[in-house]
């Protein structure tokens, strides 16, 4: 089927884009029109669909890699490639010899042990999860697992990461816009979707976070990540001309059509679509198992997953240098009578594409048959262009250069106006009551009800689980796994997310969450000098200059943190246009949200460190400096204070504190270590007491770096300044720890066998509570 576009006007071009859900702008449609005018023929629908998905925001990241004219408080700055000139910018001046794949291929890859590397990737599956939480989330995790399977010549998935953002759990049903599912329904469906897929795939889900905010009611966010391990000699892949295009795994159907373009646009109250895919973990498990066997026998030259855009994307990308000829009638189908473009664009799950030398086809076929994995040879990598046939009839013939480099790019305006926050004001109240209320905040409380549903023991690699302690109910900063059981080396993963700070300043938010991810990885034993970062931006309508201005600020913050901490971003993914259009035409944007993941090797898992007090009679130190940084803090959300700055990242002290923690853990001189984040010192101390070991902490020994006032105790207890840790040290190790530290280190108290958390200011008791009661409040925060 051909479409007549050569002689039509601009409004008609726009109408074609809209009618076929292409999500192409007028400028892009003009570029397509020009291309086919030069070819002197009309395009087929398959060609237009293929171009639309290749150029989609989801696949091309047009905004993040596009040019931006940015104005901040009347000062102008131009970026020709926003991502390169912000997030990536510090890499050129950084030691990155441990990084094997930076922002190329399906995942970021860093060195692990000799001969092995770590691959990491996280994706979002927001729009599908908003309309069908179970299916959307399960295919989200299924998709990112395939990303790892398709990294290099294929990595083995060893850990799943799940991070969700939902509307408030107690949102009244009658306040929901039409067609919007209640946050509790989305929450339960999403958790079950990730649970069922991950558990059935036999991959531990050991790292995660959940955020609740009314801003996510119409647009929940579902981040799914996977960590894999891969032999170092399998990191590179290259399609060879003449290789067979081998499709393995699930059959192709109409499910998930237009996923890439759907992901690149907003939701509205009419959204009701075929965009929902249904996951089938058993098929993917079979694919994963056989793929690694085929890899180890050297039976293919390259592999990638069929994700957004389906075969069009997978074959189009793999054949970018060689060209490809595809015969769609050879694709195994779920439904009869599918159109050519539907087969080519379908986003049916559990499919991988391999580039197989002809002479290895027989061996590979017999292995696939022995494992009951469906496969089909659907064409050949050759010819320089992308040629698609269906029953012998040509359906597409696109130059690879035009497809991959022909899109016009976009140029946008962004504006940011910094407003000085109101002066910090702390209400009169009882700090102990504030502690109770913060512990009961669903954003802070225990995730046990969710974590218990995930299998984090499968594969037998867990070293630091999401919940530790005698009763396995004490939350940890990060997680550590030991994916090669014969080795003592492990992998630490830490996460950072805090959309609340972004309400004041996305730049500080980005720097803070980047450092939080690093804190969480280092505090459990990660060697962050050999670590790497991954960014996942979820933003609102970036055609709005102010929204884009916030995104630019966040990118600047990532770059700034990467430079200060000397840790590179090696992978990332953005999901833009997370907004909902109400029936009255009003756009509701999500809060600008950034998830940063830090992955770092652990030299010896026996030295990894947990987050709760171990025994009585040990010293408690605070490492790092405390500032009057209470803006948008947990205390503010609980209504005990207002105004004030959100935390900043300090170039002169943060790296020193992080290095102190890394070194101390690697020497085995810390009994426990907990980073200070939401809720500050009070929450960290309470969580450390969940083990039943008590603590006596005197905050009069602590100084506030940027001046004291009448709010002193509140700031010391609840400030959320970055780069701080509570550490537990035996008296024997104390001199060594103190000699190690170039960082600010304050001895605040001792652990004891009282079973109570006591926080005092000199002789004045501020908080005294049994740790069992504190844990009970914490465990009851989340409704399930």
């Amino acid at each position: 089927m051909s479409l007549n576009i050569l002689k039509i006007s601009d409004p008609e071009l726009e109408e074609i884009s809209r009618k076929h859900t292409l999500s192409l702008t007028l400028e892009e449609m003009r570029k397509v029109q020009g291309y086919f005018r030069r070819k002197n023929r009309e395009p087929t629908l398959t060609e237009l669909e293929c171009i639309a998905q290749t150029w989609s925001e989801h696949c091309k990241h047009k905004t993040m890699t596009g040019s931006v004219d940015y104005t901040e408080n009347s000062e102008n700055k131009s970026y020709s490639n926003l991502l390169k000139e912000t997030v990536f910018a510090p890499i050129k001046d950084m030691e990155t010899s441990h990084c094997l794949s930076i922002f190329k291929d399906n995942a970021g890859i860093i060195r692990f042990t000799p001969g092995w590397a770590i691959a990491i990737k996280a994706e979002t599956h927001n729009h599908p999860s908003a309309i069908e939480p179970y299916g959307g989330a399960s295919t989200g995790i299924g998709g990112v697992i395939r990303d790892i399977l398709g990294a290099g010549l294929g990595a083995k998935p060893v850990l799943n990461i799940d991070v969700f953002c939902f509307g408030l759990q107690d949102t009244p049903h009658n306040q929901l816009p039409p067609q919007v599912l209640h946050p509790m329904r989305v929450f339960r469906g999403v958790v079950k979707g990730v649970r069922d897929y991950s558990n059935r795939m036999g991959i531990p889900t050991s790292s995660g976070a959940i955020v609740f905010d009314p801003g996510y009611t119409c647009n929940p966010l579902v981040y799914c990540g996977t960590v894999g391990i891969i032999p170092e000699n399998c990191v590179e892949k290259k399609v060879r001309p003449g290789d067979t295009i081998l499709l393995i795994g699930g059959k192709t159907g109409r499910d998930g059509l237009h996923g890439a373009t759907f992901s690149s646009s907003g939701l509205d109250n009419e959204t009701d679509s075929s965009c929902v895919q249904i996951g089938d973990p058993i098929t993917e498990k079979k694919v994963a198992d056989i793929l690694l066997r085929l890899r180890d026998q050297g039976l293919y030259n390259a592999v990638t997953d069929c994700g957004a855009g389906g075969l069009s994307s997978a074959v189009g990308e793999m054949g970018a240098d060689t060209g490809a000829v595809v015969n769609l009638e050879k694709v195994p189908l779920k439904q009869r009578k599918m159109e050519a473009w539907e087969i080519f664009l379908s986003e049916s799950q559990e499919r991988m594409v391999l580039s197989v030398p002809e002479e290895k086809m027989e061996r590979i076929s017999s292995l696939l048959e022995s494992e009951d994995v469906e496969y089909a040879s659907i064409g050949t990598f050759k010819g320089g262009s992308l040629k698609v046939f269906y029953n012998g009839e040509p359906r597409a013939d696109l130059d690879m250069d035009f497809l991959h480099r022909g899109y016009p790019g976009i140029s946008r305006r962004a504006v940011w106006e910094y407003r000085k926050p109101e002066t910090l004001s702390v209400l009169k109240g009882d700090p102990q009551q504030a502690l109770f209320e913060i512990l009961a905040d669903p954003n802070i409380g225990s995730r046990e009800k969710v974590i218990r549903q995930y299998d984090h023991e499968v594969q037998g690699t867990a070293v630091i689980r999401p919940l530790e302690g005698m009763s396995q109910d004490i939350p940890q900063d990060g997680c550590v796994i030991r994916p090669i059981l014969e080795e003592k080396a492990g992998i630490a993963v830490g996460l950072g997310i805090n959309p609340f700070y972004g309400r004041q300043d996305p730049r500080r938010m980005a720097a803070s969450v980047t450092e939080e991810a690093v804190r969480n990885a280092v505090s459990c034993g990660g060697d962050i000098r050999r670590g790497a970062l991954m960014d996942n931006f979820c933003w609102g309508d970036t055609s709005d200059q102010k929204e884009l201005g916030g995104l630019v600020r966040a990118c600047q913050g990532c770059g700034e943190a990467s430079r200060i901490l000397q840790i590179p971003f090696i992978s990332g993914k953005d999901s833009l246009n997370n907004f909902y259009t109400s029936s009255g035409g009003k756009k509701i944007n999500i809060p600008g949200t950034l998830l940063v993941t830090c992955v770092a090797p652990v030299k010896d898992v026996n030295l990894s460190c947990r987050s709760s007090f171990v025994s009585s009679g040990n010293f408690i130190y605070l490492a790092g400096d405390t500032f009057r940084e209470m803006g948008h803090s947990a205390l503010a959300r609980a209504g005990f204070c207002s105004g004030g700055e959100v935390p900043g990242l300090r170039e002169e002290t943060s790296p020193i504190t992080l290095e102190f923690i890394r070194k101390s853990i690697s020497l085995g001189v810390l009994e426990s270590c907990h980073d200070l984040s939401e809720g500050g010192l009070a929450i960290a101390a309470a969580e450390m007491c969940f083990s039943g070991t008590g603590a006596d902490i005197d905050i009069s020994l602590l100084s506030i770096k940027d001046g004291a006032d009448e709010h002193n105790s509140w700031i010391k207890l609840f400030s959320e300044s970055n780069s701080r840790f509570l550490v537990e040290v035996t008296p024997e190790n104390a001199p060594r720890v103190e000699s190690l530290s170039g960082a600010s280190l304050t001895r605040l108290g001792v652990t004891d066998d009282s079973g109570c958390l006591l926080i005092r200011n000199g002789r004045d008791t501020i908080i005294r509570e049994n740790s069992g009661k504190l844990k009970e409040i914490h465990r009851g925060a989340l409704k399930w």
Binding site: N174, L181, H182, R188, R254, S273, V276
Partner: protein, 163 residues
């Protein structure tokens, strides 16, 4: 073509049922409602190729494929129960993983001769003190029990679709 239905239900307390019953309260419905959940399978046989009587094959498939015998039981047909019964099925064209897996498993157990198709579904029975009314049940169904993007729901017996 022989078309049979099998209901698979928990032997003891069902966590899904407990969860759903508590979710009804969150909807703001004052009267206490209880929801009981079970899975249903529609099994289609070709009588011309089926080597044994359909009932015998249905029982074997149910016993060996569809239930976890430790915690579940099955009933050929739909159990007679008090309350309003609602059936939820995937819309045509939506991938039916439970049905597909059941057919595959029947193949591994050599029970696939004469077996045409297995489709998965869900059954919810809503009860309330003094009886549940259809209007409330319809509201509960729309809010909690099905997602109209991929599923369709109907009252058992009358077959009236819930929109």
């Amino acid at each position: 073509m022989i078309r049979s239905i099998v209901e698979v239900y928990r032997k003891g307390a069902c966590p899904e049922s407990r969860e759903l019953s508590s979710e009804v309260k969150e909807l703001g419905i004052q009267k206490e409602h209880r929801i009981s959940f079970s899975r249903i399978y529609i099994i289609e046989f070709d009588e011309n190729t089926l080597p044994v009587p359909a009932e015998e094959r249905l029982n074997r498939i149910s016993r060996e494929i569809l239930i976890d015998p430790v915690v579940e039981e099955y009933y050929p047909g739909l159990r007679d129960t008090e309350g309003i019964s609602i059936e939820v099925y995937l819309k045509k064209g939506v991938l039916d993983i439970p049905g597909r897996r059941a057919v595959e498993a029947a193949g591994y157990a050599s029970l696939d001769r004469g077996l045409k198709k297995i489709s998965g579904g869900e059954r919810y029975i809503i009860t309330a003190e003094g009886g549940a009314d259809e209007e409330t049940c319809s509201y509960i169904t729309r809010k909690l029990l099905f997602n109209k993007v991929i599923q369709e729901a109907k009252y058992s017996g009358s077959g009236v679709e819930i929109k």
